[in-house]
Symmetry: C2
């Protein structure tokens, strides 16, 4: 990815930031999905992105910083895949 070792990376350590919020029908569903993914969240050491993974009521929230575009894609794909697996197992 072009950002690594580039002017962008030198100017700002984490040039990408953002948030994704997923709303579930109820707090219990959000809690089950959150706790399933929390295990993965706590297991994986990321170096090129930083993730805050939260639940607020019926919402699951992913806040992130990333060093570059490809780090961000890898990280978001992991989290969204884990959330999908958790949801599929609930059949919500």
């Amino acid at each position: 990815m072009g950002l690594q070792g580039s002017g962008v990376a030198e100017e700002k350590e984490w040039p990408i930031e953002g948030v994704i919020e997923l709303s579930f029908p109820d707090e219990e569903t959000a809690r089950i999905v959150y706790e399933s993914v929390l295990y993965e969240h706590e297991s994986v050491p990321y170096r090129r992105s930083r993730i805050e993974f939260l639940r607020e009521g019926n919402r699951v929230i992913i806040r992130f910083l990333a060093r570059d575009n490809s780090a961000l894609r890898g990280t978001l794909n992991s989290y969204l895949r884990w959330i999908k697996v958790a949801m599929d197992s609930l059949e919500v």
Copy 2:
């Protein structure tokens, strides 16, 4: 994806929302990347996600709503890939 046709989709039409902000070293770089991707943004009709694609100063901003997790992954991967292509062509 579990959300389609599920309780979640029935409860809320766009259960996923979020924003990604990418900072560039200067406004000119952000403008060039933004305008390259804007062409793609305006060409593609999305049905399962809604995207606002903006530039503010040296930042390129993607705001999104999605019907489900897989729609979101597809959409974000497209935008992040287009941004990468634009950046690679600039060698930033």
